[in-house]
Symmetry: C2
Subunit: 397 residues, 2 copies
């Protein structure tokens, strides 16, 4: 059994803060600062260029990919770290379209995170071969699958409501029609159990700075099913994805397996922080995390609904259909979130009216949920969010 | 006048090491560790998600872009940080091809760094509209320009020999024929004076971990001439390049000016290290750096040629045609570099026979050059590099 009292002690959490925003940026693992400092001082400072060999910088994206693979039901050498999620989605999409040959439609839902849709639009415009991005409501996905569709690209857990697709079922339905699947795991990795092999997923990508706690701008990851990886021709054919990067050949030749999804020089400082963050996951049973997340989420929903009738549940009521977050509709959610942050309860707001709270058992316990729910009720019921200052916008909101 | 005794004290250099590899990875600025630690502890740790506003994380790529712009003769809001150089080259190429309308040829030289060529190959294959990458020898570039060429993509300073193109002249010749220019500044930024405005460059990109000393995997940068930037349609249309990223619209709409070349979440730890590295450049006159680099390079060439006749100069003899590195041909260069590294002189090797040494006045002085040249002569002349152990290959060489 995962000891959640122990895991909570592995994070630095600011005094008097209840942090319900781990779906946006995970908190600081207590070992991350010293890990990064060590990397800077002893590796960059002392080894200099030799760090690429002697400190394993060069193989770090694959090493950490293998550690993530264990968490996500993927075989070794099927996941690699690097770049941002947007870039990894572009790579997956370009490869998937290529595999799909003559089919022209990319299907997604309106609940997908916009950058996935934007990257698809940019790729479609670059390819300029009459591909189309078709968006339907999330509940219409299954009925919309047909043999004209090249690629189904979905985010597993909706960033606004936490609504979760049935990855295994939808993948099977899609594949029965010859459709290639891409799953965005931004709100899944470290949040809910994922088994890429059991679900027979074709491509997946995700980020590490949310539930995996790698810090702001931590590298993204990409998964390619072993059955595809040697058949794909990378669109972003960077030198570190070359079969022999240090041969400096003039022609690109893709590297073995997932190595070909590397592009340029990996961000070694961010990877050091990610490594510290992944250490925490070594002793953790994801089934325990899921059970605890559901227990805390049910408690949170019940407290908010009891004490705060103005907030209307936006997440699925059925726990099995929800990721590791709980969201509520509230017309003045933006101002209410600002007022909450000022009182030490950090959640966030998503347009048009969503108050979003991540439930992360690694560093949140029952007391946090009870206290957080109480402060939310106090703030919403008091109407203090009506003050002008809470209605001013930030560059990042 | 730049005080180079002072600038040397701003770097951590390992004991008994003469570091002649700053064209591969710059050394550690002494303030970088504490800067990154502060960012981790006080910003990530204490501000958590609020760091995006309160610690300026969101605007950091543009803020640091403006600082780089001052060094590179570019106006404010024309340079932005992020991703890797390979990705930035892809963005520049996709935009340039789009501007070039019906022309199909991308011209480059065989001295370009391979990732630029690979990214062009990947883009050409993705566009699938009969674009072609044509490579000529570097001295044939001017004679190869014609009105069928869409884009001229060159690396300003050759990564192997340090041979430098005349950026201003070639840009003008190309533009007279309606060709769009892309300059890779990997071995130029922080190495030689660059004036993007005076040279009327269309696009440029570069990395920060070489002569700018931002640490392994530091973010890349891209420049787009203000006359083009509002006409380009990003191929990598990520959410942070959107006009209103937090509106979460379903359709991409490019952001203002260079903001549209942002893609995903920026690497905040790497940006903190870059910020510490850029502080050093604030008080530096690039003309002084160039003069000192030439003085040290001439001294180095003269000492090596005098004491080490087996090494044949691979760099241009004329200082004005050379970047901030000096290279020599030596058949057993790989083994000789290995033997040198063991003796504290760090240079590197590039196939087929190039021994490469960066001359970086910010942290190298006359004593280092004299001592380094002496050890190189001792190692090469003694034949100690014939030992088997120096002929074994590393993953990264």
């Amino acid at each position: 059994m995962t000891n959640f009292t122990k895991t909570k002690s592995l994070f630095h959490l600011p005094k008097d803060i209840i942090y319900l925003d781990g779906n946006s940026l995970g908190p600081l693992p207590v070992t991350a600062e010293s890990r990064v400092s060590h990397m800077i001082r002893e590796e960059w400072g002392e080894l200099l260029i030799k760090g690429w060999n002697e400190a394993d910088w060069f193989i770090k994206p694959a090493q950490l990919g293998d550690r993530l693979a264990k968490m996500l039901g993927a075989p070794p050498a099927s996941i690699i770290l690097g770049d941002t999620l947007s870039i990894k989605i572009y790579q997956a999409l370009a490869s998937a379209i290529d595999l799909a040959a003559d089919r022209k439609i990319i299907l997604s839902d309106t609940g997908n995170f916009p950058t996935d849709l934007y990257m698809a639009q940019g790729l479609i415009s670059t390819i300029n071969q009459n591909h189309e991005l078709t968006l339907v409501e999330h509940e219409e996905i299954e009925a919309s699958l047909n043999e004209n569709i090249a690629v189904l690209m979905l985010t597993h857990v909706d960033y606004r409501t936490g609504r979760m697709h049935d990855m295994q079922k939808i993948t099977r339905l899609a594949q029965d029609l010859g459709i290639i699947t891409i799953w965005d795991l931004a709100h899944s990795a470290g949040a809910v159990p994922v088994d890429l092999t059991a679900a027979n997923v074709d491509f997946a990508a995700g980020c590490t700075y949310k539930y995996l706690n790698s810090g702001p701008g931590g590298p993204a990851f990409i998964y390619v099913a072993p059955r595809h990886v040697n058949n794909i021709k990378p669109a972003l054919s960077g030198w570190l994805g070359h079969d022999a990067p240090f041969a400096f050949d003039l022609d690109y030749r893709p590297g073995p397996a997932i190595e070909r999804m590397r592009v340029g020089t990996p961000p070694i400082l961010q990877l050091a922080a990610l490594e510290a963050a992944l250490d925490i996951w070594d002793d953790i049973d994801m089934a325990n995390v899921r059970a605890k997340s559901i227990e805390l989420s049910e408690m949170f929903i019940s407290l908010i609904e009891k004490n705060c009738p103005q907030l209307i549940l936006a997440s699925p009521r059925e726990a099995a259909k929800r990721g590791s977050q709980v969201s509520f509709h509230f017309r003045d959610g933006y101002a209410a979130i600002r007022a909450l942050i000022e009182r030490g309860v950090i959640g966030d707001f998503r347009k048009p009216d969503i108050m979003r709270f991540a439930i992360t058992p690694l560093y949140l316990n029952e007391d946090d949920i009870i206290k957080g729910a109480q402060i939310i009720a106090d703030v919403v019921n008091s109407g203090i969010w009506k003050q002008d200052k809470y209605h001013q916008t930030n560059p990042v909101t």
